[in-house]
């Protein structure tokens, strides 16, 4: 038999629209910021709102990124994800309160050290709880969506009640560390310091996640597993172990998001995670289920949209994100960066 003919492919020149299409989710963020600028017509207010929107988006990303991978990898709908946010917030704020001597001084290093310890505490706690949650609640219901919704919802309620038992039913108010209080003025706009911290943390986590997913073998296994788990197993990898790892890492990120969110709001309640789940689900859906990049850009869009609309027409703020989701799904029904499933 003869071999196939020599392969010399010629590429057709892509049109401008074809070249832009893959980058549209990235471009949408500056486009929305531009639209906000035109609608607000006040550079100082716009800058404040934009930083605020980006900060909010980063925090939603932290909370949502684990959920999107868990869904993408094992097809698990985890309504209990919000519980990790709440647990993270309570543990983190408890640690921070214990470290009052570090947060009361205006030293930025001491303050950040305290926040770091609070974040570590929250992440370790949510990590442990994530591992237990996977084993006890999620593992028995693999492959059954309805059961997953019911049992993870139940898990969420149990955790919320446990928080009430441990910390009481009242909202807990607290102060941010001294150095993170207040705002800096830039180009006539007041920008809260903590929001800048949130933006930096979000960027660092996104960069790290991308690096892990693109540059490491574990990342390859996760990306391949989202697409075709059966084949990953046929190559000899124990996907179940990888999944448990992702579930635990996702829970820890939700915990981190919870601490950041708590510091942003300066109040925590047992129901805060549940409350945020609506935004988290919107972000996961518009990003494309299973896509970390989609989740990131989706979160930024939601954060910006919420802040601009709340400024322009406060009453419309609630529905603005639903409208954003509807619009994006009409444009791309599988989300902005859809993950191709081989099932």
């Amino acid at each position: 038999m003869s071999a196939a003919p020599e392969h010399a492919p010629t590429m057709a020149q892509a049109t401008l629209a074809e070249r832009i299409a893959p980058h549209m989710p990235v471009l949408l963020v500056p486009l929305l910021a531009l639209a906000g600028f035109v609608a607000i017509m006040n550079p100082a207010s716009w800058l404040t709102l934009t930083v605020s929107g980006l900060a909010m988006g980063m925090m939603i990303f932290l909370m949502a990124s684990g959920l999107t991978l868990v869904f993408g990898l094992m097809d698990v709908i985890n309504f209990g994800h919000g519980a990790f946010v709440s647990v993270g917030a309570f543990i983190g704020i408890t640690v921070l309160t214990e470290l009052g001597h570090m947060t009361a001084t205006p030293s930025l290093m001491l303050n950040l050290g305290a926040v770091l310890l609070a974040v570590l505490g929250a992440m370790v706690a949510t990590e442990l709880r994530g591992g237990a949650f996977e084993k006890v609640i999620v593992a028995p219901v693999y492959g059954h969506h309805l059961k997953q919704i019911l049992v993870t919802m139940g898990g969420l309620i149990v955790v919320e009640q446990l928080i009430i038992v441990l910390w009481g039913p009242e909202e807990i108010y607290f102060n941010r560390p001294e150095a993170l209080k207040g705002a800096i003025t830039f180009a006539g706009a007041a920008i809260e310091k903590f929001r800048l911290v949130a933006v930096v943390v979000g960027l660092v986590v996104f960069g790290l996640m991308r690096w892990v997913l693109r540059r490491t073998k574990i990342g390859l296994i996760v990306r391949a597993g989202v697409e075709n788990g059966e084949m990953v197993e046929a190559l000899g990898y124990r996907l179940k172990l990888v999944f448990v790892g992702v579930f635990i890492a996702g829970s820890a990120l939700a915990g981190l998001g919870g601490v950041m969110w708590a510091l942003y709001q300066e109040v925590i309640t047992a129901h805060m995670g549940n409350h945020d789940m609506i935004l988290i689900f919107i972000v996961v859906i518009i990003g494309g289920l299973g896509s970390v990049e989609g989740c990131f850009f989706g979160a930024l869009l939601v954060g910006l949209m919420q802040n601009y609309i709340a400024f322009i027409e406060p009453k419309a703020a609630l529905i603005s994100n639903i409208a954003l989701m509807v619009t994006i799904l009409m444009w791309r029904p599988m989300g902005m960066i859809p993950v191709v499933k081989a099932k």
Binding site: M1, A4, P5, H7, R223, M231, V232, E233, A234, L235
Partner: protein, 249 residues
């Protein structure tokens, strides 16, 4: 069946199926499959569409569970092992749907397939010689490849490390004749290296050219086992077992 040839069972099989039954939902797909894959030879698994060839392959790799019977890989009972534990000791699997990770580049697909470490460069050269398009599109997303190129990648993934057994399910399905001959040449290379291969193939010309021994399935059972040359040379037997004759191909 009276004309089955159990006496041909070799003394040193790499893979053995004994009375394997597999149910999918309420359907009894495999109803007692017996199969012997000799070491260092290319064994064909033949039969019409829907007789259970793919289910047999998926049961061996552990995607479906055998409800009855035994599967022995190199003497070890793997019937109840999870898929990764079956694949790890050295089974390369090329599924019927190719199982390409289209979101990953060709390179990433290959890196993932080399489960035990970095890709061996001599082996990679061999793969590039067999499948030149993989070199051309090394950095491209696998999803952008053509059907034939995806099939090349699927087989290359199995070949990237030396395996004790290759399970290859319909590698020429839906491919153009020129690509089919590339596939056949690569499979012949694999065979000439002394690899053990279990190959499902609908293209009888390819099967006849490559196969050492052959097994024919019908209705979830093995109805004939023997030498490929014997089946290839007997049009009446082909007609009776598979409803085809060589003239049709």
């Amino acid at each position: 069946m009276s004309d089955a040839l159990p006496t041909q069972a070799p003394t040193d099989p790499i893979l053995q199926l004994e009375g394997v039954c597999t149910n999918i939902a309420q359907y009894h797909i495999l109803q007692g499959v017996d199969l012997v894959v000799p070491r260092g030879a290319l064994t064909m698994l033949l039969g019409r569409n829907g007789v259970g060839k793919t289910t047999t392959m998926r049961t061996i790799i552990g995607h479906w569970r055998a409800h009855q019977g035994r599967i022995l890989f190199d003497g070890e009972d793997i019937t109840k092992l999870p898929t990764p534990a079956i694949a790890q000791p050295g089974v390369g699997f090329v599924p019927e749907d190719m199982g390409i990770f289209s979101d990953l580049t060709v390179e990433e697909n290959m890196v993932l397939a080399a489960a035990s470490g970095p890709i061996n460069s001599a082996r990679l050269d061999w793969i590039f010689t067999a499948f030149p398009p993989l070199k051309t599109f090394w950095k491209s997303d696998a999803g952008t490849l053509s059907g034939g190129q995806k099939q090349m990648l699927s087989i290359a993934r199995a070949m990237v490390e030396e395996r004790r057994l290759y399970l290859i399910d319909e590698p020429t399905k839906g491919l153009a004749p020129a690509i089919i001959s590339t596939m056949a040449k690569a499979l012949k290379d694999l065979k000439d290296q002394g690899s053990s291969v279990l190959l499902v193939e609908q293209n009888f010309a390819v099967a006849r050219a490559l196969g050492d021994s052959a097994n024919v399935m019908d209705d979830g059972r093995m109805i004939w086992s023997g030498q490929m040359a014997e089946l290839g040379g007997d049009a009446a037997l082909q007609e009776r077992l598979m409803g085809l004759s060589m003239e049709a191909h």
